[in-house]
């Protein structure tokens, strides 16, 4: 069941420059969302921006509310991150197909780039006892590591941080850290979310190591409901299918289903 709700912002906290944590009151969605799913948000009247904005669910911090991590990049996210407690926001969700939840006894590597940590945080929040996991987190620079490192769910795990400029953790890409780790121990599954270049690199590492990998893909979203065919990514499968819908077939896909050469 999907809902379209006029919801209310309970809290909007700046975690670091341009990176906000919003807690939104929407009991129906909080009750049914699973990790990797997303919501479509609209918090303005009028025609610009026109479409709602897709944001992954980062957790269910309390009964009846969802947590979102939103990074300000353009007009839509500027309006969303500008909301105050008590403000109204339309929320459609939960949408899409999420991550495979790791089973007890399994080892899982999370690979997160920047705000792509959000849906993986939700996996970790829901993770059952007996799962062994490492959270690989990459960002450009130190200030983008504040939010995830301060988060109680993520900081409760084994975390490996990389930054492009070396201002926090190891200098380098998250894939560098992941590559070393894969040499030591192959997990049962890699779950990844972040910029396209990173996902492609993670997918290549996973394929090389023969480890199952799921990636959360982005695309320009229209309806978010599988109705407009606007959100496709190129895929390869036996049946000759060329495109899959990020909003309903994904956003989480097996990494070897994606046609990485098309990007």
């Amino acid at each position: 069941m999907k809902y379209f709700l006029k919801a209310k912002v309970r809290e909007n906290t700046v975690l670091s420059e341009g990176w906000h944590a919003l807690r939104i009151e929407c009991p129906e969605i909080a009750a049914s969302a699973s990790p990797g799913q997303f919501v479509q948000l609209r918090a303005w009247e009028g025609a610009s921006p026109l479409l709602a904005r897709p944001i992954g669910v980062a957790g269910v911090p309390a009964a009846g509310e969802i947590l979102l991590w939103v990074q300000r990049v353009g007009d839509g996210t500027r309006l969303i991150t500008g909301l105050k407690a008590g403000d109204a926001i339309s929320v459609t969700g939960p949408l899409g197909r999420g991550f495979t939840m790791p089973a007890a006894g399994e080892t899982v590597y999370f690979a997160a780039g920047c705000v792509g940590a959000a849906p993986l945080r939700f996996v970790a929040e829901r993770q059952q006892a007996g799962v062994k996991s490492i959270f690989f987190y990459g960002a450009g620079t130190q200030c983008d590591t504040v939010a995830p490192l301060a988060d109680p769910v993520i900081s409760g795990m084994e975390v490996v941080v990389t930054t492009d400029d070396g201002t926090c953790g190891e200098k380098g890409f998250v894939t560098d850290a992941l590559r070393s780790a894969l040499k030591n121990k192959k997990p049962d599954r890699i779950l990844a979310c972040g910029p396209m270049g990173m996902l492609r690199a993670v997918a290549a590492l996973a394929a090389e190591a023969g480890v199952k990998c799921e990636v959360s893909m982005e695309s320009h979203m229209g309806c978010g409901l599988g109705a407009c065919n606007g959100c496709v990514v190129s895929v390869k499968d036996g049946t000759g299918k060329k495109y899959a819908h990020v909003c309903t077939d994904g956003p989480v896909f097996d990494s070897d289903y994606i046609d990485w050469e098309a990007f």
Partner: protein, 305 residues
């Protein structure tokens, strides 16, 4: 209830109210069933159906422009057989008009789809898409000149007694010429507008943003242009008109009705607010009730007075 008569006739069909949802923006109906009872609508128009499945255009397929949406979906659809197998069973359960949008690369394509669906119970009418700006095989050659339009409509008319709606392109000097030809060949009604051809360019790379380079513009940006096309056609044609283009709320819908539309269709707004069409059904009733309008049909074309 308010006692307002919202029923309208479109060709051979009577709709319970004038609110339809536009092809390509409402899937096959089921995608919106979680949000409201879609039987409340006057009807739904499906995504375009072609005889064979079509993968559609390479991404990106959409890009936002000021108050508008450019799309180049490329008629992605599951094809006629899968439609009958997978989508029709649900559509048959609906208690609202189901209009199938038909597209193709040749007359035969259109004939194949209409012939196959002409006897299907769940199909109440056809919207003949001769105006898709996004694929070479999108029927646009039937939509830009009167003769091919008339020839196509004549063939389809022989295949079905169901309501035949011809969807007109605004990308021509005079859509009324196409309409006149189609009317002569047996069209029952017209819907307009399909999207306006447009494009966006990445200001860093200098390259077109859309995978298809060119797309079609929809949304509030085109409302004044669409209104004019409806107004102009309704001056000339006596056939029913379904007006669309940028309808986001009740006020927009009334503008089209005053311009001469017998029914209206909600497109891009469905992507923005899944309940937009229902809000307009309720809004039209409230609008009429508040102004003592007994029959929505009495408002049609008032702008011409």
């Amino acid at each position: 209830m308010s006692g307002v008569d919202l029923t309208v006739k479109i060709g051979r069909l009577t709709l319970k109210n004038p609110v339809l949802v536009s092809s390509g923006t409402f899937g096959y109906g089921r995608e919106f069933a979680d949000f409201f009872d879609i039987n409340r609508l006057g009807g739904i128009i499906t995504k375009a159906i072609t005889p064979q499945p079509r993968p559609g255009n390479p991404p990106p397929r959409t890009v936002e422009t000021p108050a508008g949406l450019l799309n180049a979906i490329g008629l992605e659809n599951c094809g006629l057989e899968a439609f009958v197998r997978e989508k029709m069973p649900y559509l048959k359960t609906l208690d609202t008009a189901v209009i199938v949008n038909v597209a193709g690369a040749s007359e035969q394509d259109y004939v194949d789809v209409v012939r196959r669906l002409a006897e299907e119970d769940g199909v109440d009418g056809f919207e003949i898409n001769i105006s898709c700006p996004n694929v070479k095989e999108g029927g646009i050659e039937f939509g830009t000149r009167p003769e091919p339009a008339a020839a196509l409509v004549g063939k389809l008319r022989r295949e079905t007694d169901k309501t035949l709606i011809v969807k007109l392109s605004p990308n021509v000097t005079d859509p009324c010429e196409i309409a006149e030809a189609a009317e002569g060949a047996g069209a029952d009604a017209f819907s307009l507008v399909n999207t306006f051809r447009g494009m966006a360019i990445n200001q860093e790379t200098g390259r077109p943003v859309l995978g298809n380079r060119i797309g079609g513009l929809s949304g509030p940006a085109i409302k004044p242009l669409a209104l004019y096309q409806v107004y102009r056609l309704s001056l000339k044609s006596t056939k029913s008109i379904i007006g669309m283009g940028g309808i986001f709320n009740t006020a927009d819908a009334m503008e089209f009705i005053y311009a001469g539309a017998d029914a209206i269709s909600v497109g891009t707004a469905n992507l923005v607010r899944p309940t937009a069409s229902l809000e307009i059904v309720e809004g039209l009733e409230a609008y009429c009730a508040a102004r003592g309008v007994g029959r929505i049909g009495d408002c049609v074309g008032r702008a011409h007075e």
